[in-house]
């Protein structure tokens, strides 16, 4: 299995949509073949269309607010005493997380194809919140599927969705989390694909959704590359990019522009959710060696039992609480371009405490997983090593959980 240079990773799949010959694909009901093909044709054309790119960039700049900041975390750097620690503050983006890029692009596509309604799944609530924002902006009706457990634990985002006029549909099946929300959203699409567009909230699902999402979030690394050159005059010789990995959209977007660099120069570190220390359930299929299976239309490493039933996961972070992982990351893992590890619930909370103590930055529980590993490893690195963590979400949505786990003082300033 080999990663090709000079070709975007999203375009390295084969005719049937498989990366490395075995990850991804289109395991979908016959009914969805046609709408998926339509979307493929549309996207393949538009991604090379100058006017479309211009339109995208206009909304990215004026509405989402690009570029997001690239900042040095001086106090943390001093505290840790190793590498230089930096952050790409993607939570600056309109809405407070990277999910806005994919949501905006999907709404632009839906508009052009004449669809009036757009549906989407959400875990942490960001994908849903952003889709509801973009739908409102572009005059589309919006329906969001969300697990009942996640509705309870991510109330601020649920409120935002409703305020934007979206219909939030609670999903009560299975574990009542993201995995069930995605299933229910796909089922709704099966029944309504003639009038309705679907947005998948991460780089998961049938191949076209993986590609559109990866293409959209790549905005993050496009910006970062420019910012690095402005700051250091070049892409640093020792650069390490840390990102949490749920479905894998923020991490893929954070890395994409640097794909062709030697990993000795630009290393990618993906941090999955290990779940509570005491629990055997995790949401870290790449770290803990899960087998390949099919989930939501794509072949991927996924937590499952011997029969092929998908296993429930457990994580303090709703955004990472997913048994599968993007086919793109399976591909990056097996080609050894990226390295994957996990942080537990407790470790993520600890990292959140440290970061908020030393810096004026409040990463949500998802990026707190990445911060934990980055801070731990940075101690060992030389001073000319540049460590960057993608702070891809803001902790406002996690107020309830943080207050319950750490006490009031950690949420006061919200």
């Amino acid at each position: 299995m080999k990663l090709k240079k000079g070709i975007p990773v999203i375009d390295q799949g084969d005719r049937l949509g498989f990366w490395g010959g075995k990850f991804g694909g289109n395991f979908v009901p016959e009914t969805l073949k046609k709408p998926i093909e339509d979307l493929e044709i549309q996207f393949n054309k538009l991604k090379n269309d100058k006017n479309f790119i211009k339109e995208r960039d206009k909304y990215f700049k004026n509405w989402i607010g690009t570029p997001t900041r690239f900042i040095k975390l001086d106090n943390l750097t001093k505290h840790v005493g190793g590498a230089q620690i930096w952050s790409k503050v993607v939570s600056d983006a309109n809405g407070g997380a990277h999910k806005i890029y994919n949501a905006t692009v999907h709404c632009l596509l839906a508009k052009r194809s004449g669809k009036k309604v757009i549906i989407g799944d959400t875990g942490a609530g960001y994908a849903g919140k952003m889709l509801s924002m973009a739908a409102k902006k572009f005059g589309l009706k919006c329906k969001i599927f969300m697990g009942a457990k996640d509705i309870k634990r991510q109330q601020p985002n649920v409120k935002a969705m409703k305020k934007n006029g979206a219909d939030v549909v609670p999903v009560y099946s299975g574990s009542q989390t993201l995995v069930d929300a995605v299933s229910e959203c796909m089922r709704y699409w099966v029944a309504n694909c003639d009038t309705t567009a679907m947005c998948v909230g991460s780089t998961v699902g049938p191949a076209i959704f993986v590609r559109i999402c990866g293409w959209s979030t790549s905005q993050i690394s496009r910006e970062l590359k420019v910012q690095l050159i402005n700051e250091f005059g070049e892409v640093p010789k020792k650069l390490k990019l840390y990102n949490c990995v749920g479905g894998g959209s923020s991490s893929f977007g954070f890395w994409n522009e640097f794909m062709d660099y030697d990993k000795k120069q630009v290393e990618f570190i993906g941090v999955e959710a290990g779940g509570p220390t005491k629990s055997k359930r995790h949401a870290a299929p790449l770290t803990y060696g899960s087998k390949i299976g099919i989930l939501h239309g794509a072949a991927q490493y996924v937590n499952q039992n011997g029969d092929g039933q998908i296993e429930e996961t457990e994580s303090i972070s709703a955004g990472l609480d997913y048994p599968g992982i993007s086919p793109l990351h399976c591909f990056l893992k097996d080609t050894k371009r990226a390295r994957y590890t996990a942080a537990s619930d407790e470790e993520a909370l600890k990292a959140y405490q440290i970061v908020t103590k030393y810096e004026n930055l409040r990463p949500s529980l998802e990026p707190s997983h990445a911060f934990f590993v980055a801070l731990k490893e940075s101690k060992r690195f030389s001073k000319d090593t540049i460590v960057i963590i993608n702070s891809c979400g803001d902790a406002y949505k996690d107020r309830g959980i943080l207050e319950q786990k750490l006490g009031k003082k950690y949420v006061k300033s919200n």
């Binding site: 049937l16 009901p29 073949k33 099919i294």
Partner: protein
């Protein structure tokens, strides 16, 4: 010699009626009970679809999901499902069996192992909901080699060009999904429209037995008497759920329902 599935269609044709296909979930609500249901309804149905329950079903509506989750919760495993079919096939009144499920279950078992086991247990056909054409080309060939019918699905969104390619690659039976819906949806398209699409398929592929499924219930079934076959699933699963919550015997109630369905098309 005709394979058992084609034979079942031929027998129904002799009686000038569509074949009746039922769908029940293996292990719903228990291994024993689902076997009893199969034995009872084979008095009236011509072909039995046996659902292989999966916990992330992207094409099933509420009723079938409820049945599937119930079966999984009661501990049903792939090998139990094979055993149910084997036991059923030993009974005096047995009918052809078609597995209906999702590809991950086959993938984890291993395609070759799975087919071997199907053959041994007496499974006659397979419907794999999320393995569409052309992704299913290699696997459907393997099925054919093992004398197992791989049943291709067609839907209202299938283009004419696709329709021709798919029917060309299909075996003796094809399955037309009546409308844009998950299983268990209300019939939202007129029978006339559905039959027009059905006739289009029959014109392209007159020799293959084409069944219609999704939205077929006691209420709607008699609109489709001039077809090769009809599938009823969600209404049966719902009847099992209803019986359980009323503390009645699902075996008796489901059997009554299938008897009625059969009468409506005879």
């Amino acid at each position: 010699m005709l394979n058992p599935i084609s034979l079942a269609f031929k027998e129904a044709k002799k009686e000038k009626r569509p074949a009746l296909l039922t769908y029940t979930v293996a292990g719903d609500s228990s291994k024993k009970q689902s076997l009893e249901i199969l034995k009872e309804i084979s008095n009236y149905a011509d072909i039995l679809e046996v659902g292989v329950p999966h916990n992330t079903p992207v094409a099933d509506g509420g009723q079938i999901q409820t049945s599937a989750y119930r079966a999984i919760k009661n501990g049903i495993k792939m090998n139990d499902i094979f055993k149910i079919v084997r036991d059923f096939k030993k009974s005096k009144n047995s009918k052809p069996v078609i597995f209906m499920g999702y590809y991950n279950m086959i993938f984890q078992y291993g395609e070759n192992n799975f087919l071997k086991k199907c053959k041994k247990s007496g499974v006659n056909g397979l419907i794999v909901v999320d393995l569409p054409w052309p992704e299913n080309k290699i696997f459907s060939k393997k099925c054919k080699k093992n004398s197992i019918n791989f049943i291709q699905l067609l839907s209202p969104t299938t283009s004419n060009k696709r329709l021709k390619s798919i029917t060309k690659d299909s075996h003796d039976m094809i399955y037309y999904i009546s409308m844009l819906s998950t299983t268990g949806g209300k019939l939202k398209v007129s029978p006339k429209k559905i039959l027009a699409n059905y006739n289009k398929i029959k014109k392209i592929s007159p020799k293959k037995n084409c069944v219609i499924g999704f939205g077929i219930t006691e209420k709607t079934i008699s609109n489709f008497k001039n077809t090769d076959g009809l599938v009823v699933g969600s209404q049966i699963c719902k009847e099992i759920t209803r019986s359980l919550s009323n503390r009645q015997n699902p075996v008796i109630n489901v059997s009554k329902m299938v008897n009625k369905l059969r009468k409506k098309i005879s």
